[in-house]
């Protein structure tokens, strides 16, 4: 009898561990594609390998919040986007299309993202006020410093695509 109980317990435990494994939530990623030399897929862990920065701006609640993440231009440079010395001539007709998992999309001209053109920081944030972004906002959100309307502070970002204006 004891043996049977042990077997039942063992089976139960192994099932529990199996179902535990199956429930490991899948991690969201961001794909960088288009006019880049090295298309990338970025995870939250990858984000930690870049220089961290913060931007303070108001959200829809009208209050200031501190957003932490990395400069969008750093990610795009890593993928081989024509920023910095290469952002001239026809490359100035390039834009970044940001897409969210809810289908919302916004565009930035490459020159809006380049330190040689502007001091305004546009970051890919994964934290607000020291905490991870809420599921309905994150895990990745673009934060545009000082922009009056928050409409381009796009939530739940899943794709960054560089393209030429045609």
């Amino acid at each position: 009898m004891k043996k049977i109980t042990l077997v039942i317990v063992a089976v139960f435990l192994s099932l529990a561990s199996l179902s535990g494994k199956a429930q490991t939530p899948k991690q969201a990623t961001i794909k960088i594609t288009g006019e880049v030399t090295t298309p990338l897929t970025i995870t939250e862990a990858d984000l930690q390998t870049y220089k961290q920065t913060t931007v303070i701006r108001k959200d829809r609640d009208g209050k200031d919040h501190t957003y932490a993440g990395v400069m969008l231009s750093d990610l795009l440079l890593k993928a081989g986007t024509t920023l910095g010395p290469d952002l001239k001539g026809e490359n100035l007709t390039k834009y970044l299309l940001v897409s969210a998992s809810d289908g919302y999309e916004v565009v930035f001209a490459l020159a809006e993202l380049d330190k040689a053109y502007t001091d305004r920081a546009i970051i890919l944030a994964n934290q607000v006020d020291g905490k991870p972004l809420l599921p309905a906002d994150g895990p990745f959100r673009i934060i545009v410093q000082d922009e009056k309307r928050p409409a381009r502070c796009i939530k739940q970002v899943v794709s960054l695509k560089i393209a030429f204006a045609k």
């Binding site: 939530p25 998992s101 809810d102 289908g103 919302y104 809420l134 599921p135 309905a136 906002d137």
Partner: protein
């Protein structure tokens, strides 16, 4: 110059193979009526898709399936063709009926095996601008979309190859395929391409709301109040009342191609896009459908749970279910400070619905160019 199939041939070749003499005579009458209804030959050339400037030109037509008059002609026949189903009883039009703005009035729809679909039949309108199809957005083109209900065992239940084989034996069809594609071969790919071409012509741009935007319709006060609520976000601290529907349903087309968890359930039975991505952020997330012709397309939501627009408005007003996946714009969106749903007044709900009725385009649902070509011929 390619020979153009005569419309009389279409009906003759289509129907006489297995029919007796009396049926032949009956169909001969039908064919003659059809002859008087149609032009002598199938129209050919580029199809001019006409729409208002405020709809914009961000259209979605694949480079390898340019819309032609002959393609649309063929696509319309195929849209109403029951041979494309396993038991020759269903066509696309079974679940997408023009009079119901291309829906079927059911919560879920029975397929060839009488098993119900898992989600509500979506209305077909202004698809020229759509880029993601189905309630979960899993198809990137109308061509890709059309293939799925055709072959799903619980919908039309017939593989594209079998459909192609069936049509390959019908001369009227092979002649049309030659006109559209250059040779008589019928393939699954060519079938879905033609259907997609027809669907791209389903343009609705003549609702009272369209005419209001053009300056040719003057809304009654109740409609105007509803429109204001529709477009305005609630700001109780400033005394501004609103329903903010336009956040997801705004613009001239009343369609923005978004995917949201709109608070139907805290724990959804149908996980929506999460089923595809495995991401908790996508739990209970579904396409935000067009509101064009919304008064005609009930029951509502991906599972057809709401029978009337009153129930839909009541949901947003009073019954938003909280969860981590609830879309952020619905969190704390209320006309009452600290409220968790819109909290509209009874009169405001009526005003909203008055505005929603402005989105019904009766020209669209009665346009003979979208109707079953065989029935049109019979009624003439």
């Amino acid at each position: 110059m390619k020979a153009k199939p005569h419309i009389l041939n279409f009906f003759r070749c289509t129907f006489t193979g297995k029919a007796g003499v009396s049926l032949f005579l009956l169909l001969a009458v039908v064919a003659l009526s059809a002859f008087t209804y149609y032009q002598d030959t199938v129209p050919t050339g580029a199809f001019q898709l006409v729409y208002p400037a405020n709809f914009g030109n961000r259209v979605n037509t694949p480079a390898d399936n340019v819309t032609t008059k002959q393609g649309v002609y063929l696509g319309r026949l195929l849209f109403y063709e029951t041979r494309l189903s396993a038991n020759n009883t269903l066509s696309c039009s079974s679940c997408h009926q023009q009079q119901k703005a291309f829906t079927d009035g059911r919560a879920l729809s029975p397929g060839v095996d009488k098993v119900l679909s898992t989600r509500n039949s979506m209305s077909l309108v202004n698809l020229l601008w759509a880029r993601k199809f189905f309630w979960d957005g899993r198809a990137a083109s109308l061509e890709e979309q059309a293939a799925m209900p055709l072959s799903n065992p619980h919908e039309m239940g017939q593989s594209l190859n079998v459909s192609a084989q069936k049509l390959n034996g019908i001369k009227s069809y092979t002649q049309l395929f030659r006109l559209v594609y250059g040779d008589t071969l019928v393939t699954g790919d060519r079938i879905v391409k033609a259907i997609a071409q027809f669907e791209r012509t389903l343009i609705s741009a003549n609702s009272p709301y369209d005419r209001y935007l053009k300056g040719t319709y003057r809304p009654i006060p109740q409609e105007l109040k509803g429109m204001a609520l529709f477009n305005q976000a609630p700001q109780p601290e400033k005394g501004i009342r609103g329903a903010n529907c336009a956040h997801c349903h705004g613009g001239a087309k009343n369609y923005m191609e978004l995917f949201h968890n709109n608070g139907l359930d805290s724990i959804p039975k149908d996980a929506g896009i999460e089923t595809i991505t495995g991401l908790v952020q996508d739990r209970g997330r579904f396409k935000v459908p067009t509101l064009r012709n919304i008064a005609l397309t009930g029951p509502y939501m991906h599972d057809g749970r709401f029978k009337t627009l009153d129930e839909v408005v009541d949901h947003y007003s009073n019954h938003i279910r909280q969860s981590a996946s609830l879309s952020s714009f619905l969190q704390g969106e209320s006309n009452e400070p600290g409220g968790r749903s819109l909290k509209l007044l009874p009169a405001e709900k009526k005003e909203l619905i008055a505005f929603l009725n402005m989105l019904t385009d009766s020209t669209f649902i009665n346009n003979p160019q979208f109707a079953d070509p065989r029935l049109s011929a019979l009624n003439k």
